[in-house]
Each structure stands twice: as C-alpha cells, then as structure tokens.
C-alpha cells in the first residue's frame, strides 16, 4: 500500500521530492539523487519529459525506484499519448508496482526540443483523471471490463499564483469530482498569496502539497518571473540572493527554502521540494524545518 496515500489520508504532513530523468541512457546519477532523498521524503515525483524535452520516460525511472523500494509518484502528461497509450501506460505502471500517479496536461511541444512534434492532447488532465478512476473501477474508457483492476492513488496539479485564480479553482473542483485525491502546486514564493488560495479551497477537503523550487540565483528568479506562469519571486528574495556571494549561494538557497517551508507548513498538508539538481541541499533543508 502506498505510504504516501496512507500518510495523506491519516492527515499527516508529507514531504515529497522530485527527480527529472536524464537525456541519455545512464540513469545512475538520477538514482543517486533518489538515494539522497530516500530518508527525507515519503515519495519522489518522476517527471514526464519535463519542459517537453526528450528524455528517459517517467515509467522506466519510476519502476527503477520501486526496485530500490523508494516510492515514486509517476507523472503522466497528456502531451504525447492518445487515450489508448495513456490507459496502457497506466496498466503497465500498476503491473510494475506503481500506485501514485500525478496527471498533468504537459508543456506544449513548442516549449521543448522537438518543437515540430505533433501535440497529442487527445485527453486533457481532467479526462485523464477520469480515465484512471475508471480503470480503478475495473473498466476502460470504452466501458469494456478489465480482467483485473489497478487501485491508483491519483493526484493533480494546481497553480495557486495564477491570475485570475477562479478558472484554476473551477478546474480543481472538476479534477476532484473525477478522482483527484491530492494536489501538488506550482512553486510558492509568496506565502501570503498561498494562504489566500488555501482559504478558497479549504472547503474542498483535499490535501494540498505546496510546491517548493529551490531558488539557485537572482537570475533564475528573474527568468521565472518573466517566463513561468503562476510564479512570482518577490523582490526581497531576489535581493537576498543577489547580495549573497557566489560561494554562499547554496547556503542561502537552503535558508530561503527552509523559511518558505516553515511559513507554508501550517497552511497545507505537505511540501513538494523540486531541487532542480541541488538535491544535496534537501536533507539539510528538511532537518532544519523539522528541528
């Protein structure tokens, strides 16, 4: 049984991590990153061709984590597969021991390194969640019976910093209605705004896990502010980073991350830490938050 599900359903605070599969066939580095996180997180998200860049698939890496008894959250996007392939990959995932699935739309192919690829989006994230719930009930999308059924713990994403917020919340409700049992969010840097989002979704009674992206530099903050939807890194945090000498940046990044986690912790049921390669900071951050 999924420890991640068990913890969330018993109301405990969870910490999840994230790993991006490599572009190539050597997965040792990413498995090493998973080992670094093992003792500090309940489960690890495995991204599905993040930023629409060709890489090893999330199914393969999730399966490798299962072999090492690390619990994966298998990310599945609608960008590259039609409904046959999505359902088949879900059945494959269950057969490989994967229980947690995060269903997403997926970045558009033009955002990545195969801009000429056909964007599939045969289903959207709401329809994918419904399809996965239907598989859980022993039937496929065409209402044919499965000879045995999975029992996925299904999650979805939401962007608390989106403006306007209302369409995001409408979609969040639709996701819950078709089977989303947990939400992981886009990166949070403004706990005040996050609080106002939480106040709007409290009555939905679904665990929300706040997204935390380790900020590596002022330049990264500026890039995200200009280019990434729903993320606003406030000026004071940008200044904190730019005032820090390069050799102390990692320490500062850990400090800022720990501070944000402490601020959002009372508001939600977990944090999802996206280290973007600075995985070695995660143990320190978590120790500091839990101290």
């Amino acid at each position: 049984m999924s420890k991640f599900k068990e913890k969330l359903e018993s109301g405990k605070f969870v910490i999840t991590g994230e790993i991006g599969p490599p572009k190539g066939v050597n997965i040792e580095k990413c498995l090493h990153d998973a080992e670094l996180l093992r003792d500090y997180v309940t489960a690890i998200n495995i991204t599905d061709l993040q930023s629409a860049v060709l890489r090893i698939g999330s199914l393969a890496v999730s399966s490798k984590l299962i072999e090492r008894r690390i619990e994966p959250i298998f990310q599945l996007t609608c960008r590259d597969r039609n409904r046959l392939a999505l359902q088949s990959d879900l059945l494959s995932a269950w057969a490989l021991g994967i229980e947690n699935v995060l269903c997403l739309t997926g970045d558009h192919p033009t955002m990545g390194d195969h801009a000429e690829a056909k964007p599939v989006y045969d289903l959207d994230s709401v329809q994918l969640l419904k399809a996965a719930s239907t598989l859980n009930q022993g039937r496929d999308m065409s209402d044919h019976e499965l000879d045995s059924n999975p029992n996925f713990f299904l999650g979805a994403v939401v962007t608390p910093g989106a403006e306007p917020m209302e369409p995001q919340i409408i979609k969040m409700k639709k996701k819950i209605a078709v089977g989303a049992r947990f939400f992981q969010t886009q990166a949070i840097y403004e706990p005040d705004k996050f609080e106002s989002f939480i106040n709007q979704v409290k009555s939905l009674n679904v665990p929300v896990i706040a997204g935390i992206v380790i900020l590596k530099s002022a330049a990264m903050a500026k890039f995200m502010n200009e280019n990434v939807a729903g993320i606003t890194v406030p000026e004071d945090i940008i200044n904190e980073m730019s005032d820090t000498p390069k050799e102390d940046r990692k320490k500062k990044a850990a400090e800022i991350t720990a501070r944000i986690i402490r601020q959002v912790k009372p508001l939600c049921q977990g944090v999802h830490i996206m280290p973007l390669g600075w995985d070695e900071l995660v143990p320190e951050i978590i120790k500091e938050v839990e101290a």
Binding site: G106, Y121, D122, D124, V158, P167, K173, G230
Partner: protein, 239 residues
C-alpha cells in the same frame, strides 16, 4: 472560408519540368480573399512564371464573380468549354486555391496533372478585407454551447476541453506570450454573460472518429447524411 497562402515561387518552379506547358487556375472566392488566387494574383503568377522561362499556355479564374473553384460543374464547364482550346494544350495545371480546389481541377479535367501553387492553412473568419483568422478546427463535434461560442479546440494551443492549463501568464498563452489564452477568453465571456456555471460541466473527450478523414456529406430530399468513421449520421430538416 479556406485560407490559403501562395507557395514560394522557387518551390513552384521546382515542380515543373523544363518545357512543361502550364495552365494557371485561380479561385474567385476564398483564394481571392486571401490574395492568393484571385484575378490579379493569377494573372501575376502567370507573368512571374513566364519571366522565369516557364511555358504558360494560359490562365483563368472561373467566373461568375465570387464563385468557388471547388464547385465542380462550373469549373468543368469553364475549363473544358470556355478555355477548352487552351487547356487541351496544357501538360499540367497550377492551382492557386485550396486543396479542395486542386482536386476539383483534377475532376474537371478528367484526371489532368495538377500542381499545388498554395498551401491550404486553415478555415477562418474574414474579419476584415486584410485579416483572416481561425475560430473553428472542423472537428465535427461542436461544443461551443458550453464555452460561450468560443472553440477551445481551436483557441487553446492544447485544445483542452475542461479549462485552462497552468501555462497562461497575464492572460497570454505559454506557446506565445503575444497570443491570448483561449480559456481566458472563454472565462471572460462566460463571466460577462453570467454563465460561468457552464465551466463546471465535465466535457467528454472528443469523438475523434467524427474527425476521421475523408468525410462526406450527401444531400437527398429533406435529409442530409454525414459520413465518417463514426458511422452515418442522417439529419432530417423536417423533424
């Protein structure tokens, strides 16, 4: 309307064998509106080709004024009767029209050799004389009842049916920050109409077999039948 844009002249020249006798055909409806195959555009194409040494035996844009090239009976009459003497000498036809027009010329000339002079790019609204844009993807399964008349299949880069992704910033799409997020437009209009509750409705995945190609429409008396891989759908106008 079917929007078209002329192919680069060098690409067109590359299609033609040395000495090939070409007859250029335009369309007085959609292609004329797109400035890709109206009377002036077709005449210009004929002289541009001649300047490059192509043997152009003639050109025409089938009339009456405003008629579509894809209306087979008219195109056949024009190409076989009105221009019959010239088209008989032609080895091939260069079509300045959409893909439907290309096939119409093939039918109208009993299997004549055709070259595409245009790319057919989308079905659109002629907003002004100099601006055409796309609001429909011809999917065969319209859902705009739930989206304030705005098609998310067309206006959303990901064709999402149940609301926006998280990629929009300041109401602009993640694929192009100058382009409106389709779901932002739908949300704004539903709100303005006081129909935001329509966004709560779960919209089923598309029946893509209605989008299977080639599709056809048959008119018989008071009934019309749409044929696709989703099966025949017959609608009576008198129900």
């Amino acid at each position: 309307m079917h929007a078209t844009i002329q192919k680069p002249i060098d690409e067109i020249i590359g299609y033609l064998d040395p000495g090939e006798k070409v007859f250029v055909v335009g369309c007085d409806n959609c292609a004329a509106k797109c400035h890709s195959g109206g009377i002036p555009d077709t005449q210009e194409m004929a002289s541009r080709l001649e300047k490059r040494g192509v043997n152009v035996v003639g050109w025409c844009v089938p009339q009456p004024k405003g008629i579509s090239l894809c209306k087979l009976a008219n195109t056949k009459k024009v190409l076989q009767e009105e221009y019959g003497e010239v088209t008989k000498q032609a080895d091939s036809f260069l079509i300045l029209a959409c893909g439907q027009g290309i096939h119409t010329v093939m039918d109208a000339t009993d299997g004549g050799m055709v070259h595409a002079g245009c790319d057919t790019i989308f079905g659109g609204e002629t907003v002004t004389d100099d601006f055409i844009t796309e609001y429909c993807s011809l999917c065969g399964d319209c859902i705009v009842e739930y989206t304030a008349g705005l098609c998310p299949v067309t206006l959303c880069a990901k064709s999402l049916l149940n609301g926006p992704c998280g990629g929009a910033k300041n109401g602009k799409c993640e694929v192009d920050r100058n382009r409106d997020c389709g779901w932002q437009l739908i949300y704004d209009r539903l709100k303005e109409l006081g129909q935001l509750d329509k966004m709560d409705k779960y919209i089923m995945p598309k029946n893509n077999s209605r989008w299977s190609r080639p599709r056809s429409l048959t008119m018989a008396g008071t009934e019309v039948t749409f044929r696709s891989l989703a099966g025949d759908v017959t609608i009576s106008r008198q129900d």
